[in-house]
Symmetry: C2
Subunit: 677 residues, 2 copies
Amino acid sequence: MTTRSDLQTPAPSTDVAMPAPATEEATTRHTREEISALGAGLRAATDGRRYADVRALARATVPARLMVRDAAQTVPEAREWTRRSLRELVGLGLAGSGFPAEHGGLDDVGRSCVDFEISALGDLSLTVKSAVHFGLFGGAVTSLGTDWHHENVLPQTLSLEQIGCYAMTEYGHGSDVASLETTLTYDAATDELVVHSPTRSATKTYIGAAAEDARIAAVYGQLVVDGRTHGVHVVLVPLRDEVGQPLPGVTLGDNGHKGGLLGVDNGTITFDQVRVPRRMLLDRYGGIDDSGTYVSDIDNDNKRFFTMLGTLVRGRICVAAGAAASTRKALSIATRYAVRRRQFDAPGHDGEVVLLDYLAHQRKLLPAIATSYAHLFAVTEIIERLQDLHEAPEKDQEAHRELETRAAGLKALMTRHANDTIQVCREACGGAGYMSENGLTGLRADADVFATFEGDNTVLLQLVAKGLLTGYKEMWGDLDVRGMVQFAARTLGGQVVEATAVRPLVSRLVAAAARRSEDHTLLDRGWHLSMFVERERHVLETLAARLRRGKDHDAFATFNAAQDHVLMAARTHMDRMVLEAFVTGIDACEEGEVRDVLERLCTLYALSSIEADSGWFQAHNRMSAGRAKAVTTQVNKLCAELRPHAVAIVEGLGVPEAWLGSAMLTEPEVWTPGVPA
Amino acid sequence: MTTRSDLQTPAPSTDVAMPAPATEEATTRHTREEISALGAGLRAATDGRRYADVRALARATVPARLMVRDAAQTVPEAREWTRRSLRELVGLGLAGSGFPAEHGGLDDVGRSCVDFEISALGDLSLTVKSAVHFGLFGGAVTSLGTDWHHENVLPQTLSLEQIGCYAMTEYGHGSDVASLETTLTYDAATDELVVHSPTRSATKTYIGAAAEDARIAAVYGQLVVDGRTHGVHVVLVPLRDEVGQPLPGVTLGDNGHKGGLLGVDNGTITFDQVRVPRRMLLDRYGGIDDSGTYVSDIDNDNKRFFTMLGTLVRGRICVAAGAAASTRKALSIATRYAVRRRQFDAPGHDGEVVLLDYLAHQRKLLPAIATSYAHLFAVTEIIERLQDLHEAPEKDQEAHRELETRAAGLKALMTRHANDTIQVCREACGGAGYMSENGLTGLRADADVFATFEGDNTVLLQLVAKGLLTGYKEMWGDLDVRGMVQFAARTLGGQVVEATAVRPLVSRLVAAAARRSEDHTLLDRGWHLSMFVERERHVLETLAARLRRGKDHDAFATFNAAQDHVLMAARTHMDRMVLEAFVTGIDACEEGEVRDVLERLCTLYALSSIEADSGWFQAHNRMSAGRAKAVTTQVNKLCAELRPHAVAIVEGLGVPEAWLGSAMLTEPEVWTPGVPA
């Protein structure tokens, strides 16, 4: 069994055959990564408080060959590469951090998110393969299981002796987990659970590792005891025997080729009356006692269900962090290309113009970089908060629900930014951007699925809106339309935003801006914050009022007519949360060049957001026509100001050059017109 | 040699070994495509005047197996499939239509665009492979060559005996064709042209068919005669011998795996003093006479260059049409899925809610469908105009330049819409959307490159702006910054928009709207048109004024500071052109349900565009705050009104169900929760 006593030194497992972690090669390579003082300062500012050393160590030790996969691999090749690389990842100490310390982990769920984030700077198949096994399967065993499960499952999970998968999604239901059709029926006569797929739509699908590698599954299904259904529970079900053959009653399929993540063997699972011992039920929140009676500390089925689903929070934080990491990598590639690639002569200028000197090109990349900085601060913050709450002596229910809501929102925001931005980066590199060897199209294809897995973005934003409308007081229900409408009906105008308290620093800045004259500068942070706060407050208050006015007899019609408003409420709330994280992060920096660049990036982020919602701000009398035009002018001005620092700014995004995996960045002479053959 | 005397009946080539076109199977299959009367009516309305029969015949005869490629194919498999399918495509009469009639074509360049559009409803590798050979290579020979080239090259091109490629792009220069580095130097001693790559950046790259199949290339390079450079010309250069080995002096490379279009063998070509006879120069616009002197009817090098590049217009129309076709296919898949997929119970409703009944889902798909209808009318119109101009007894230079400008703009608009919309469609199908077998991710990956090939979108939009600023009077220069600024300086305010005359129908509608009171309805077409016209006029006039005010000594700085403004001028112009095409198309329809649905789609298109630019309209006092909010309400209302017709509306998009290649649409029982196994 792998044990790790030292956070800082990757400790290869002793009983798993794996190649040496090759830290020497990696260190040598990374010693050569010379970055600017500004770049180093930006990295230090964004690495956060708690896991800065973990991030820095990974940048210096993880070898590039583990982070870059050949995009031309076939599905079998990609799966084999991923399988082998997973062992190396474990050897480097980038897996299982969230497991209990007594079973070889670090009991550090925050660290497990950082592990995910680091590996997401490399190949996303490996990231997801690892996350399914350690994060989802291992996480379910850790969080939903009890001592027996920990002792009997986690060791072989950590050693990769037994690969696990996470069998939640069915063909019939993805987002709507409460409606899963698989049944887990207790048979008192044999003291077993019978796992069954009663319909074709109950077939588990898109299950990572089900197609080839998984030997055991954490299966979500409706628990039926003595004829009564107790809602969704999770049971461990062995899938394959020692030689990899499906066990009796288990039918396994292969989802085949996907839009990306070719290294992950997603598959289908159908159960035909498969029997497992009672103890295989992960029974931390609800189980069956020796007398065959269902027992749970949580009486309400719905509340229990959402307490169990609450353990998904880490997965969503990981996906947010991973999407943000992929975006930073794409921006690093495209920006480094944009400062070397020249195109078109310009009158009165020597040589052809460097791409990034065009305003249109700056507009493509720099506001996206500013947003990525904002996201970096927000991600670092939520990861640290996750671990802080995990370590707290008493569980703070409301704080945890706030965290779940924030995780859902960040996941939606950051995966959207990832899909949009990676595509912009690919196009910004022209034909070269379309060649797989340059690293952008694979990133694009792999990160794509982040928009819909671990919670569909549209569904997650509704969850955020519900959290806001109910002040996190009632979260039992996912897309529970009736609950949302009823709660809104009980909420009085003005109350809603207070549910997410504005931070003291932010209050101060907003108050200071309010005291100043009306024509405060566009660069005033207090004005930015007040615009974000006001946008959120107004959208949320008018949403609550609208839902209150709705027809009581048709909650769905009321909700549905306002669905775009619901989504905007969630989005504007998350925008405010992200800006606050950025502002808080900057506040921790000393005066100097690093802080100055961060301030400009923050202003660019804030003004880009205001510019994008210019129509809303004007329609709601928050911004004059003149100011709307001035915002655009200021965005262009900031682009010009940040342009000279572009390389240092992408160094600050924290992606080592050796991990970029972009051929066009390593063959300079090909790209410079006029050099003799 | 293939000859075709009948437009309507696909005539398989007689002397090329190829499988029978299997029209029987296809016809049988398609007889079963039962579409609604509304769907059929919409198809009739959008199929256009001239090529309606070609489109209808293709839908009824092209077999699905030719249109759907297995996304799991490896690069070699995909290339082989594409190679074989190309022969079938020729057999079906979907290639070479633009060739002169005396050499086996139809002398119908419009038809060749329709051929491209039809094949783009299938697999884009096949589309592009065909387009490179017939459209780019064959097109260059046809347009830039003279009799000798037509007689000696076109027959073996049409029969696929000799695959050609189009060697324009170099590593160092893609968009900036005028700066290509390859040299074509005339050696009077041997009466040969010496083709040479003087630098590493002169290597031709991303050249379709260069990696494996091409035997001959149309090579762009700087023609040097007697020590003087005459600008870019095109010469035919054999690349491979009979057994496929590179000829002496020719070095061929393989671009390898790409982000999509795996069936196209893109590669690199380097020339080391390769000699070809003088007659290999495509000398329609400029050549070398028997005395070894350069001769051309066009004195100005720059003017000659852009006359030659003008032949690219068809390629851009094809890419626009292809991108639009891919988008329609994706929307057809996602919409058909959205009317069958159910998710989440709703209080007071029977069963779970169908995805497309959610407002948010309608918002994702229906405005995009409306835009696709707008694009369909615009594409059909420009294809017909291309052929009308081609057939005109005298070449109308200004009309041709307007066409080039419009083609550039439509290409930029439609490829942007394609990338955005296909991604929305993929996400709207959740996890299923990410499985290759469901057809969306492959479409997304393949269509991606449309944004940057056949002209980078950002560059093309600048070309449009320049056309507008100069009233199409001066088009000699691509991204010629100085020219644009100087012309703007000579232009008086108010003159600019008149360069693109508003159509009489549109003028009438706009005038009628202006006569009515200020609070005319949001549904008033005249109001929509006047908003589009005003937006364009104001953006263009203020751009001209801004360029005039710029510093004369630094034209680049003046241009660059306004680059976002330049792009907006182009975009708003194109939006107006597209809306006018839609309005004109509807005007040709009789009263009835088809027209009624088209009117609503047109309104949805117009209001979505106005909503997206809400910030601009308010900042420029073209729309009040109240009206801005009302536009959003009206967009939602239109979505609800169109929802019941969703299936008929996507039938109207003209993609036969059998060509969708989406497994999830053919396995209904899997997707309906609750059906017993």
